[in-house]
């Protein structure tokens, strides 16, 4: 297999606070290959967005990368200066955020926003950029693209705005797109359209996508591999079908079992007792041990094994337990 587009090795993010240092991302490693969609899933506060922000260099100080390496297309990018990072963002890494209205400038026509991005990053003339802007809007499925380039963001519906944001993320032809909850603010029918669009673009152009979401259904349908995060750490990583149907980590299992499924009928939903620990009070050993039905003393004391190929971060991985 070719070299991965993005490679994160043992990444940790720290935030110093009055009450000590908290670590919202703690020793996370994963790769994304050309044309692959990697799903990053977890509940709120699991550190999934923070890991994405670390990759694009958008950590808000005092949050900073304290350990680990980020490699993009064979270049190390975690220690780049703000200026070098700015040249990278938009050109090599595209971004799609949750709320399409806040990621577009309300005072600029969308055509201008697209050409501005292209002129900043690509050595092309203005007329060429304008041509490409129309093509980009056509590619993401906006009807009447030639007229719509002159519209302002508020003239679009939510789904169309998210298409514009995707066109914007793609227009400088990046090799990696980080999509942070791209469909959470959208209705199901529009969500299906956006996911189909992301998958098509990913396949046609070989763009790698990091899809951050909390929706297991979206993960199942859209991604090739999935990384499950819990309390800033990677709990499990593997091909989506394996992880979702035969989860090895008790947390993944609990997460799957607590989602209402058609096959269960009206029976009670599985509950994971308790809640995710606060980041300033992550327990020793495995972060999941207070909520885990299988926890032993080993889980409470020794740090869990690191996630490796097809192996969950768990001393006692579940075997042969089919959830769906």
């Amino acid at each position: 297999m070719a070299d991965p587009v993005l490679s994160i090795r043992d990444l940790s993010v720290e935030i110093p606070t009055r009450h000590g240092i908290v670590r919202p991302v703690d020793g996370v490693s994963y790769d994304i290959a050309v044309g692959e969609i990697l799903g990053v899933v977890g509940e709120s506060g699991a550190g999934k967005s923070m890991a994405g922000n670390a990759v694009i260099g958008l950590l808000n100080p005092p949050a900073h990368i304290s350990k680990g390496e980020i490699w993009l297309n064979g270049k190390r990018i975690d220690h780049l200066t703000g200026d070098a990072m700015r040249r990278l963002r938009g050109k090599e890494i595209g971004m799609v955020f949750q709320d399409p209205l806040t990621s577009l400038n309300p005072l600029l026509r969308i055509g201008d926003q697209l050409t501005e991005t292209m002129l900043t990053h690509l050595p092309i003339s203005r007329s060429e950029a304008e041509k490409r802007a129309v093509a980009a809007l056509e590619e993401v499925g906006i009807p009447g693209a030639a007229e719509r380039v002159n519209s302002y963001p508020h003239e679009f519906s939510g789904g169309m705005r998210q298409r514009v944001v995707i066109a914007l993320a793609l227009c400088a032809e990046p090799s990696l797109i980080i999509a942070d909850e791209p469909t959470t603010a959208l209705d199901v029918s529009v969500q299906a359209q956006i996911i189909a669009l992301l998958r098509r673009l990913c396949r046609d152009r070989g763009t790698a996508v990091m899809l951050i979401t909390h929706d297991m259904g979206v993960i199942a349908e859209a991604t090739d591999r999935v990384a499950v995060m819990y309390a800033g750490r990677l709990a499990e990583l593997g091909p989506v079908r394996d992880v979702l149907t035969h989860p090895q980590h008790p947390y993944t299992h609990g997460l799957m079992a607590s989602t209402p499924l058609a096959s269960q009928g009206k029976s009670r939903l599985h509950q994971i007792p308790g809640a995710m620990p606060r980041l300033d009070a992550v327990p020793d050993g495995c972060a999941f041990n207070p909520r885990c039905p299988h926890a032993t003393d080993k889980c409470r004391q020794s740090p869990v094994p690191r996630v490796s190929n097809g192996q969950a971060a768990c001393w006692y991985p579940l075997v042969e337990e089919k959830v769906i």
Partner: protein, 320 residues
């Protein structure tokens, strides 16, 4: 007898620009029909779910059920009494305490300056009822501890806050609780806790729920009967088994096909065409016809009536 009867319910909002703008720009008044001629009954001790995408009018119906909004036309009867037209104040008061509501955002629906105890007993205290020990009892029933009574809302997580909202809704011993997206703001594992709690309380107290949600998995798990809304109109109503296995209305079919499935690995779905039309100028005839794969001439001209098809109600000319 049905606990809730909704007959021919409509609600129109005036969304016109201010008077001076209308004069200068020579624009007529603009009206948005959020709910249009909706009929349904809710049986006692059942869960009736309203599903639909944003702008389908589900929350507007919820607000009209609890009396937060007045219907433009049509009737909402609860236990046989129409709150909008009833003149006997005592009767209205009795019904009012029988209806409670749980809102979507537990961060916005609790007063940050009130202690949990005061929040929970308010529905009773405001009517001059006895509140001694009530908050503590309810807190235990929703899975929190007695010590939590003296705390403030910011000391709780989202799931715990939603439990407080549920405790508050239970305080006046209601029959009917309207739940507007009760778990949308919560994570899956917390959602499971809240949904299980809601099911338990329903059995313990003999409650009736009207559950408003856009999440089909939640609706399927909780509901005894489901009404599907599109652009303010009820397009199909059926029991969950029928609705999910054999949807009759093309919109329901589209919605179910588009919903992501947990076992849909690499599923290639043909995503639905188009988007919800502008509710200020809804399409003629059947509101779904511009996106409908089987639309005929009659669909463009005549709005379909609600028809009965073996226990399923569907508003479509073509369904059979």
């Amino acid at each position: 007898m049905a606990l809730v009867r909704v007959k021919n319910l409509s609600r129109v909002f005036d969304v016109s620009k201010p008077w001076l703008n209308r004069v200068i720009e020579r624009r007529p008044k603009a009206f948005l029909t959020a709910v249009s001629e909706v009929d349904f009954d809710v049986e006692p001790r059942s869960t009736y779910a309203l599903v639909g995408e944003s702008g389908s009018g589900k929350s507007t119906i919820g607000k009209m059920l609890v009396g937060l909004l007045k219907p433009t036309s049509g009737v909402v009867e609860i236990e046989g009494i129409d709150l909008a037209s009833e003149t006997d104040a005592a009767k209205i008061d009795a019904i009012r305490s029988d209806i409670q509501m749980i809102f979507q955002d537990p961060y916005a629906s609790l007063n940050p300056r009130w202690r949990v105890k005061d929040i929970i007993v308010e529905p009773v205290a405001s009517r001059g009822g006895k509140t001694e020990g009530l908050a503590e009892r309810l807190l235990e029933q929703v899975g929190l501890s007695v010590q939590d009574a003296g705390k403030f809302p910011h000391e709780f997580s989202g799931g715990q806050r939603q439990r407080i909202c549920i405790a508050r809704a239970l305080a006046s011993e209601p029959n009917l609780i309207v739940c507007d997206e009760p778990t949308s703001a919560l994570d899956v594992s917390v959602q499971a806790q809240v949904l299980n709690l809601m099911s338990d309380l329903k059995d313990d107290f003999g409650l009736t729920y009207v559950l408003i949600s856009h999440d089909l998995t939640v609706v399927r798990h909780m509901a005894d009967r489901i009404g599907v809304l599109y652009l303010g109109r009820l397009v199909e109503e059926a029991e969950p088994e029928d609705l999910f296995n054999n949807p009759k209305h093309p919109y329901t079919q589209m919605l179910l096909a588009a919903a992501p499935q947990m076992d849909g690995f690499g599923r290639e779905v043909q995503p639905p065409e188009g988007e919800i039309p502008d509710p200020i100028n809804p399409p003629s005839g059947c509101a779904f016809h511009p996106r409908c794969p089987i639309a005929q001439d009659i669909c463009r001209k005549k709005r379909p009536d609600m028809r009965q098809l073996n226990g399923i109600r569907v508003a479509c000319h073509m369904a059979e």
